[in-house]
């Protein structure tokens, strides 16, 4: 079972565009805060990261994403919707691997809730990453 919150490979601009179109269907939200996590071409001992291979515990990711949404909605009652999408599999340097979109009536709620959701994702989502270097060696992070 592939959960909605996991996407195979990078999060492409068309995924983002379709979320933007979804946003425009509602007229009770005034502020949307989006976080995009991108694979950086970091250097590690003179080797450059060319991609990350993400693995995820799909069943538990689904459970944890729901828990995170519940936490946010309980703390920020003005939040109207939350979208969380994480990549699994190979994502190349420069590509997007995480998207969080929080929509609220007013900007402060959207911004604070999005920031908190990103922290919870980092802490609670069972996702692992293997950095792949330009010489094809790899390193678990």
């Amino acid at each position: 079972m592939k959960s909605d919150c996991l996407i195979n490979g990078p999060i492409t601009p068309d995924v983002i565009t379709s979320l933007m179109e979804k946003i425009s269907e509602r007229t009770d939200t005034g502020g949307h805060s989006v976080f995009l996590g991108q694979v950086r071409a970091d250097y590690e001992n003179d080797k450059k990261v060319k991609a990350i291979d993400y693995s995820a515990y799909e069943g538990m990711v689904t459970v944890e994403v729901e828990k995170i949404k519940e936490i946010i909605l309980a703390e920020f009652t003005e939040v109207k919707s939350i979208e969380i999408i994480h990549s699994s599999g190979i994502v190349k340097a420069g590509e997007i691997s995480l998207l969080v979109l929080v929509s609220a009536g007013h900007r402060h709620h959207a911004i604070m809730a999005c920031s908190k959701a990103v922290e919870l994702i980092k802490k609670k989502l069972p996702v692992w990453k293997m950095e792949i270097f330009d010489d094809d060696s790899h390193l678990w992070k």
Partner: protein, 77 residues
């Protein structure tokens, strides 16, 4: 009885597998000993254990069909 054990992240590489079934294990403590028998190198890694998608900090009994995961520190985002 049979339980399913999942290995994630570096532990999938270290054990050479993502999934192994274990039979007739009563508790998480029993299971850990069996896993260390099969994959002695696992003991050198830092990981948490989940039982049916919930992280556990105690030593619960196991039931037929349980899903256990050995999870190194999360690194999403």
């Amino acid at each position: 009885m049979e339980v399913k054990v999942l290995f994630f992240g570096v532990l999938a590489e270290v054990t050479g597998t993502r999934l192994k079934n274990y039979y007739e294990v009563k508790t998480i403590g029993d299971l850990k000993l069996r896993i260390y028998d099969d994959f002695p190198e696992v003991i050198h890694y830092n990981f948490r254990i989940s039982l049916n998608n919930e992280i556990i900090n105690n030593d619960p009994n196991l039931n037929n069909g349980d899903e256990i995961a050995l999870m190194p520190p999360f690194a999403g985002g």
